[in-house]
C-alpha cells in the first residue's frame, strides 16, 4: 500500500456540465437565425457576423493576455457568443470600423473592466450595441432591404423598419390601419423577410433556437415567457383602448428585437436574476419598458434599453426575491391555523 489516496470533500462526482457547453449551446441555438440572416441579407450579414465574432474574441484575448496579464479564456465561448449577439443587433450595411469599435466597447468596457465573465453587470453585446447607437445614430438606423441587398454590403438599398414606419406615421397623424399597408405582411415578418438588425428579424428561427435552449435546459421558460407575455398584454390593452393609435400585440412581438431579446439577450446568465420569481419580475420589467419606449418614447425600438435598465435592477431583485424555501408554505399554513 504505497499508493496515495486522494482526499476531498463530497460530492465526488460531477454532472459534466461546463461553461463552454452552455456557451456553445447558445451558439447552436443562434444558428437558425444566422441562416435566415444570411439568406435575407446575404454578403452583408456574413461580413458583419464574422467581423464581430473575430473582433470580440481578439479583444478578449488581447486584453486578458497583455493588459490584465491573465490566462486568456476565449475558449470558453463567451466572447464568441457576445460577438454573435452584437452582430445580430447591427444593420448589415454597417462599416467594419464601427463593428470593431462596438466589439472593443462590448468586451473591454462591457465585460473585462468588471472582471470578466460572471462579473459584468450589463449585457456586453448590448453595451456595445447601445454605444454604437448613441455614437453613430445614422449608420445604426439605416436598414438594408432584405433579398435585394444580398450581394451588397455598404451600398445596400435601405428602407425603414416596420417599427419606425409605425412610429413616424402615428406621430405624423396617420392611423394604424392606414399604416398597415405600408409594412410587410405578418408572414414576412415571421420568416424574417423585413428590414432590421441582422439577426432579430426571423421570428420562426429565433423561436426554434429558443426551444433548443429550453430543451437543453440552458435557459428556463421564466424570462422569455414573461418578456413576450408582458409585451402581448401591455400592447393588447393599448390596442383595445385605441386600435387606430396602437398597433396590435402580434405586430409588437414580430417587429424589432422582442424575440431575440426575450430568448437570447435577456436570458444572459450573468446579468439576469437568479430566482424564478426574480426572473419573472425582470421579464415583465423588460416587456413593459420596451412597450413604453416603443409607444411613448422617442426611439422606435426599446428592447436593448429595456434589458440594460433591468440589468441594473438585477442585484436588487436578487437581494429581495428569494427562491421559495423548502417547507416555507407548510410553515405559513401552520401559523395561520394556530391563530
Amino acid at each position: 500500500m504505497n499508493q496515495k489516496l486522494v482526499i476531498s470533500p463530497s460530492p465526488h462526482v460531477h454532472g459534466g456540465d461546463s461553461v463552454p457547453k452552455n456557451m456553445y449551446g447558445v451558439i447552436i441555438a443562434l444558428l437558425p437565425a444566422l441562416v435566415a440572416s444570411l439568406w435575407f441579407f446575404g454578403i452583408g450579414a456574413l461580413i458583419i457576423t464574422l467581423t464581430s465574432i473575430a473582433a470580440c474574441v481578439f479583444f478578449e484575448w488581447l486584453i486578458q493576455k497583455y493588459l490584465l496579464k491573465t490566462t486568456p479564456s476565449v475558449s470558453d465561448g463567451s466572447a464568441a457568443v457576445t460577438g454573435l449577439l452584437l452582430a445580430f443587433n447591427l444593420p448589415t450595411n454597417i462599416p467594419l470600423g464601427l463593428i470593431i469599435i462596438g466589439a472593443a466597447v462590448a468586451i473591454g468596457i462591457g465585460k473585462l473592466s468588471f472582471g470578466g465573465l460572471g462579473n459584468n453587470p450589463f449585457n456586453p453585446a448590448l453595451v456595445g450595441r447601445v454605444f454604437l447607437l448613441i455614437s453613430f445614430p445614422v449608420q445604426m438606423t439605416s436598414w438594408p432591404v432584405p433579398i435585394t441587398s444580398r450581394l451588397h454590403y455598404i451600398d445596400a438599398e435601405t428602407a425603414a423598419t416596420p417599427l419606425s414606419v409605425i412610429k413616424e406615421g402615428v406621430s405624423a397623424g396617420q392611423t394604424i390601419p392606414e399604416l398597415m399597408s405600408e409594412i410587410p405582411s405578418y408572414i414576412n415578418m415571421f420568416i424574417g423577410n423585413i428590414g432590421g438588425s441582422a439577426g432579430e428579424m426571423a421570428g420562426i428561427a429565433l423561436i426554434l433556437g429558443g426551444i433548443y435552449l429550453l430543451w437543453k435546459k440552458i435557459i428556463t421558460w421564466h424570462i422569455p415567457v414573461s418578456v413576450i407575455g408582458s409585451v402581448i398584454i401591455f400592447t393588447g390593452i393599448l390596442h383595445l383602448i385605441d386600435p387606430s393609435t396602437y398597433a396590435d400585440p402580434l405586430f409588437h412581438v414580430l417587429a424589432g428585437g422582442v424575440l431575440l431579446g426575450a430568448f437570447f439577450m435577456a436570458t444572459d446568465y450573468v446579468t439576469s436574476p437568479m430566482s424564478r420569481q426574480g426572473m419573472l419580475l425582470y421579464g415583465v420589467g423588460i416587456g413593459v419598458i420596451t412597450v413604453l419606449i416603443r409607444v411613448f418614447g422617442s426611439y422606435p425600438e426599446g428592447v436593448s434599453f429595456a434589458i440594460l435598465i433591468m440589468n441594473a435592477f438585477t442585484p436588487l431583485i436578487d437581494r429581495y426575491m428569494k427562491p421559495k424555501r423548502f417547507g416555507e408554505k407548510v410553515k405559513t399554513v401552520r401559523a395561520q391555523t394556530s391563530k
Binding site: S10, P11, V13, N22, T220, V270, S272, D318, K324, F326
Partner: protein, 442 residues
C-alpha cells in the same frame, strides 16, 4: 406519473453494478477496531480493558446519555488495547481494539435463520431494547433509533416511512436487504409500528429497483397497513425531508424534525437490525456493505462485522485497481474520502466506493456565471451560489438569514455547477461557523 419530491434534485448516473450480487458473509477479520462514537450524540463509555476476554455480542461500551448508543463486541477474543484510530471522518477517535479468537457468541443471541413473526414485547419494551441493542440509523446519519422511536411529548406520529430509496449512485446494500430479507423486514416494520403506535407504514422505493418493489408489494398485500410506494429516480430522495415530501406531500419546516408533520422515517437496514434485535436478541454487530467502483473486479455486497478494516473488504472484492485514486466511505454524492485503508467499518458504513484516478480529481474552478442551475438543483430551495459568497466573505449573519442551516449537504449544487465551483465545501464551512454562533447565542 410516479411520485417524487417537488423541489430541486439531480439525476447522477445510477451505476448500480453490484445490484445483482447476493449478500456474502465476509470472513472474520484478525483484528477489529471498534470506535466508541459510531453514532450521533455522546460517545459510549468503554466497559472493557486491555486483556479482557469478550464474546461476540457482549456489551463493551455503554451508552453515554439519552442520545447515544451501546456498543457490542463484533467478534470474540481478547481486548488488545483501547486506543485512537482514524475513522471515516478522517479524525482520530477512541476505539476498542480486539484480537479475534474463534467466534464464540453470547448465549442469549438466537443465531438461527428461523423467521420469528410473533412480537412478544410491548411498545415501551421495544424502544428500551432497541437502545440496549445499540441500534442506530444505518442509512448513514447514525441517529440512535430509540430516540427516533420516542416522539417528544405532545407530538404524535401518524405515519411510519421506511426508506428503501437508496438514491446514492453505486450503493446496493439496502436493495439486497429488501430482496433477501423481505419477510424479516415486514416483521421489523410491524415492530416499529407497534413502538410508534401507528397503523400505517409506507415503504418508499425508487423505480430502478423493480424486483424489490415487486417482492415487497406482494408481501405487503398480506399485511394490514403496510404499503409500497414506487418513486421516480431522483437524488436526494433518500434525504429524510425529501422522502416525506415525496410520499406524503408534507414539508418539514425549517429547523424542525419530521415528527412536526407526523412522520418518522427509518431506513430498511435499520428496520432489519431492529428485527434482529427484538426477535433474535442480536445487537448491532454486523451490517451489509457494498464494495464497488469502476475498477473493482468483483463488485459485492458483504455482510461485515463492525470494526473490520475497509482494506479487507476491498481485497475480498478483487483488490484495489492499479489506477486507483480515491476510496470513499459511502456513496459518491455524500460519502467521505478515506485517508487510509485501515479505517474500520462502522454502523453507518453503507458502502466502500473506489474511484479511478481520472475520476478522483476536480476540474479547475472558474468564475460563477450566475446560471442559477444550483438554485434549480437545491432540494431545500436555497441559493448555493450566494451562500458560498457569504461564507467566503464571512458574512455569517446574512448566511444565517439566507437559511444556510437548512442545507442537507446533498451536494446537488456542486454536482451541477458548470463552473465547477466548490459550493458545498464553502457552505459546510459556513454551516459550522453559523451553527457555532447560534449555539453561543442560546
Amino acid at each position: 406519473m410516479l411520485k417524487t419530491f417537488k423541489k430541486g434534485g439531480v439525476h447522477p448516473d445510477e451505476r448500480k453494478i453490484s445490484a445483482g450480487k447476493s449478500i456474502e458473509i465476509l470472513p472474520l477479520p484478525k483484528r477489529v477496531a471498534v470506535p466508541t462514537t459510531q453514532h450521533i450524540g455522546a460517545p459510549a463509555k468503554p466497559l472493557v480493558k486491555k486483556g479482557d476476554i469478550v464474546k461476540t455480542g457482549q456489551l463493551i461500551a455503554a451508552s453515554g446519555g439519552f442520545v447515544s448508543a451501546n456498543i457490542h463486541s463484533p467478534v470474540s477474543g481478547k481486548v488488545f488495547k483501547t486506543d485512537e484510530v482514524v475513522d471515516a471522518s478522517g479524525y482520530r477517535k477512541p476505539a476498542i481494539i480486539i484480537d479475534t479468537e474463534g467466534d464464540e457468541w453470547d448465549e442469549s443471541i438466537d443465531r438461527s435463520d428461523k423467521l420469528v413473526k410473533e412480537i412478544a414485547l410491548s411498545g415501551e419494551e421495544i424502544i428500551k431494547k432497541t437502545g440496549e441493542m445499540g441500534i442506530v440509523g444505518m442509512g448513514g446519519a447514525t441517529f440512535p433509533t430509540h430516540v427516533k422511536l420516542s416522539p417528544p411529548p405532545g407530538k404524535k406520529c401518524e405515519i411510519l416511512l421506511i426508506n428503501g430509496v437508496e438514491c446514492e449512485p453505486y450503493l446496493t446494500s439496502d436493495h439486497r436487504i429488501m430482496l433477501e430479507k423481505s419477510e424479516e423486514l415486514m416483521v421489523g416494520i410491524r415492530i416499529l409500528m407497534k413502538a410508534l403506535k401507528v397503523n400505517r407504514a409506507v415503504i418508499g422505493i425508487e423505480n430502478n429497483k423493480p424486483d424489490a418493489i415487486g417482492k415487497l408489494t406482494n408481501l405487503a398485500a398480506k399485511e394490514d397497513g403496510i404499503e409500497v410506494q414506487p418513486l421516480k429516480v431522483k437524488y436526494p430522495q433518500g434525504g429524510e425531508k425529501q422522502l416525506i415530501d415525496a410520499i406524503t406531500g408534507r414539508q418539514v419546516p425549517s429547523g424542525k424534525l419530521p415528527i412536526e408533520v407526523g412522520a418518522v422515517v427509518h431506513n430498511v437496514g435499520t428496520t432489519f437490525a431492529v428485527y434482529e434485535a427484538i426477535q433474535k436478541n442480536k445487537p448491532l454487530i454486523e451490517r451489509v456493505v457494498t464494495v464497488t467502483g469502476p475498477g473493482i473486479t468483483q463488485p459485492s455486497n458483504f455482510l461485515v462485522r463492525i470494526g473490520t478494516p475497509v482494506g479487507q473488504l476491498i481485497e475480498a472484492a478483487g483488490g484495489l485497481p492499479d489506477n486507483m485514486g480515491k476510496v470513499i466511505g459511502g456513496g459518491p454524492m455524500m460519502g467521505k474520502a478515506l485517508v487510509n485503508l485501515d479505517v474500520p467499518v462502522t454502523k453507518g458504513s453503507s458502502g466502500i466506493l473506489v474511484l479511478p484516478h481520472e475520476e478522483a480529481h476536480r476540474a479547475p474552478v472558474e468564475n460563477c456565471i450566475r446560471c442559477s442551475k444550483c438554485i434549480s438543483a437545491c432540494p431545500m430551495g436555497l441559493e448555493p451560489y450566494l451562500l458560498m459568497i457569504e461564507a467566503e466573505k464571512e458574512l455569517w449573519d446574512r448566511a444565517e438569514n439566507d437559511n444556510i442551516m437548512d442545507c442537507i449537504e446533498c451536494g446537488s449544487c456542486s454536482f451541477t455547477c458548470p463552473a465547477h465551483r466548490p459550493l458545498l465545501d464553502y457552505i459546510r464551512l459556513g454551516k459550522g461557523k453559523v451553527g457555532q454562533i447560534i449555539r453561543n447565542r442560546n
